[in-house]
Symmetry: C2
Subunit: 361 residues, 2 copies
């Protein structure tokens, strides 16, 4: 195996080694095809099979029936911030739960389409938690309720979906899709940029309940028309063929490794090791997120001051732990430990944390 380091990047992020290995082996020529996946037509039988596998794996992992479309689009979650309201905000008002920078960006784009009601925001505490159900001011006439299930920058996560009654729930799950089993039927739409938990950047999965597509206005620009994308099965134009191929491999890896129940167990273990290291440090490491809102995908903490944090990140990098610098908006340290991140790397980081405290305590 090549010399790989521990990659704690927030995204693009670590991918399963067996998936990368398979992609590498077949890069020059898919067996029986004689071309690289990067060279095959998106209208070919070969790509049909890859695409069908990726969609079918998605359905299995989410438990999604035929009442949901599985789309793989370009432009990332950032394009969906605009595209989903453009297509689904009927009537032209929606509730947004604001739990971080990405929620705020979603609000900004939604406001171009219609009225946005901020159903709750936790900005006051530098987004160190997600709101409780009884804090939400929901409008029963809203077109939908939007939330960000995991907040990469702040290290917070919803442990359960907001309850929205009959109002469809839209979820940006870019940074925690497939981290545990969910009841997909609670959702009107789930979307996720692939580059954190399911694949390379450049492809965004959009899972949408088919009946919601009846809301799509006529005559939208073709590439922004969700109904057209669904009618053409993500093939209105050339999709990100390579990205969808990698997603077919990472979702296969998920299914072959115990599925989402096993991921939930592993993720709780991995994040638990780091939170224990924080909580057991006697205040040397201070977690950013409130305990009830802690993310199992992104673990964030601070040290006594910025200089010490800088030293921690630098020495960690020298020891083979990459990507630990916190986002500029909160500083400190952030360890992103997505599905594909190995437990061993987390254990070694916890040891490093103890050793660093001993030397610099």
């Amino acid at each position: 195996m090549e010399n790989r380091i521990y990659n704690f990047s927030a995204g693009p992020a670590v991918l399963p080694e067996p998936s990368l290995k398979e992609a590498q082996e077949n890069l020059m020529a898919l067996p029986g095809v004689g071309m690289s996946v990067m060279e095959i037509s998106h209208r070919s039988k070969t790509f049909d099979e890859i695409h069908a596998t990726a969609k079918s794996n998605f359905r299995k992992l989410l438990g999604a029936g035929d009442d949901y479309e599985i789309l793989f689009l370009q432009g990332g979650a950032s394009l969906q911030f605009y595209m989903l309201p453009l297509n689904l905000m009927t009537p032209k008002k929606a509730d947004y739960i604001v739990t971080g920078s990405w929620s705020k960006k979603a609000v900004k784009e939604a406001k171009r389409v219609g009225e946005v009601n901020v159903a709750a925001t936790t900005e006051e505490g530098v987004f160190n938690r997600v709101p409780k159900q009884d804090e939400l001011t929901l409008d029963p006439e809203a077109a939908f309720v939007h939330f960000t299930s995991n907040n990469t920058i702040y290290g917070t996560q919803f442990t359960a979906e907001p309850e929205t009654g009959d109002v469809p729930l839209l979820c940006d799950a870019s940074s925690d899709i497939f981290h545990k089993p969910i009841d997909v039927n609670k959702y009107g739409a789930i979307y996720a940029g692939a580059q954190k938990n399911i694949g390379p950047s450049g492809v965004c999965a959009v899972v949408v309940r088919k009946d919601l597509l009846e809301r799509v206005p006529e005559n939208l620009p073709s590439m922004l028309d969700l109904k057209l994308m669904a009618e053409k099965d993500s093939l209105y134009n050339t999709p990100n063929v390579w990205g969808i191929y990698i997603i077919s491999l990472t979702t296969k890896w998920l299914l072959e490794n115990g599925g989402l129940s096993e991921m939930e167990k592993r993720n709780n273990e991995k994040a638990g090791i780091l939170y224990d290291a924080i909580d057991g440090s006697g205040g040397y490491y201070k977690g950013h997120a409130e305990k009830e809102s802690r993310s199992v995908m992104n673990v964030t903490w601070n040290l006594a001051n910025a200089d010490l944090e800088k030293k921690f990140v630098a020495e960690a990098a020298e020891s083979g732990f990459s990507g630990l610098k916190g986002h500029r908006s909160v500083g400190g340290v952030r360890a992103s430990v997505y599905n594909a991140f190995p437990k061993k790397g987390v254990e070694e980081l916890a040891s490093f944390m103890k050793e660093f405290q001993r030397k610099n305590g």
Copy 2:
């Protein structure tokens, strides 16, 4: 070398083997980095270098100075059909030269933004040629003139740019970018989906003269705002990191193999071999395009009837020539021979054509 076949696909299409080989070797871990390119942060020094290389290679190949932005966006040329008029159609009228299905799609999206004047169309002859300069009805007050430099489906190509005086020229060069040296200063913008001549699908190069960005209206949706994309150097959100990496490799290959003058020579040779085979067949093979408009990227021809064409394509596939079926709108045969397509494959196809005619003449 793995068992690779001759890939005549129109796109996604054949890529240079040395580029694929390098991507394969480094797929698990970039040397000195310890992560796959698919796993590196788009804000990392490693990606900065890849991105800078791709941009710098683009500048060298096009001879583009600092007065041009080099952007790598998502959504393909299809999104640019809408996005470019949305950003640059000031005043709200533009001239479009219609030479095929892709031009027509560009017109359709542009009409959502403003008034479209069809400066010329060759649809009457099933797009078997591109118009001459004196056929163009150009409006000196138009915001821009748009043309499609190569028409993948019909196998036609402009041998010189339309002359538009002071009106900026916008070009969809998806299927022939880098096929020969051009004078970039004739263009206001050149855009190209990567999947035909420069890389995998999922990334679109947009080269735009900086002064045109002054036209960009305020408050466009962020992901559709070309000025914002330029200000953020294609990194407003996570770009297609892998796609840009492959472009950095294919453009390196171009520069190391004699650049665009050498490509022009090779492309003329390769296409020439096929056109000679057509012209020397005594009418057995009938070229679709008029001679003056023949494309060196996509060579299209018909046989006496659809059954014979089907037989030709099927037997060619059995002999290792893949992707020769013509587009459904013109039928027949299409051989796409982009920069990376080897001359040997063209010679072998020409031999196959002679042999097929002998057996079925």
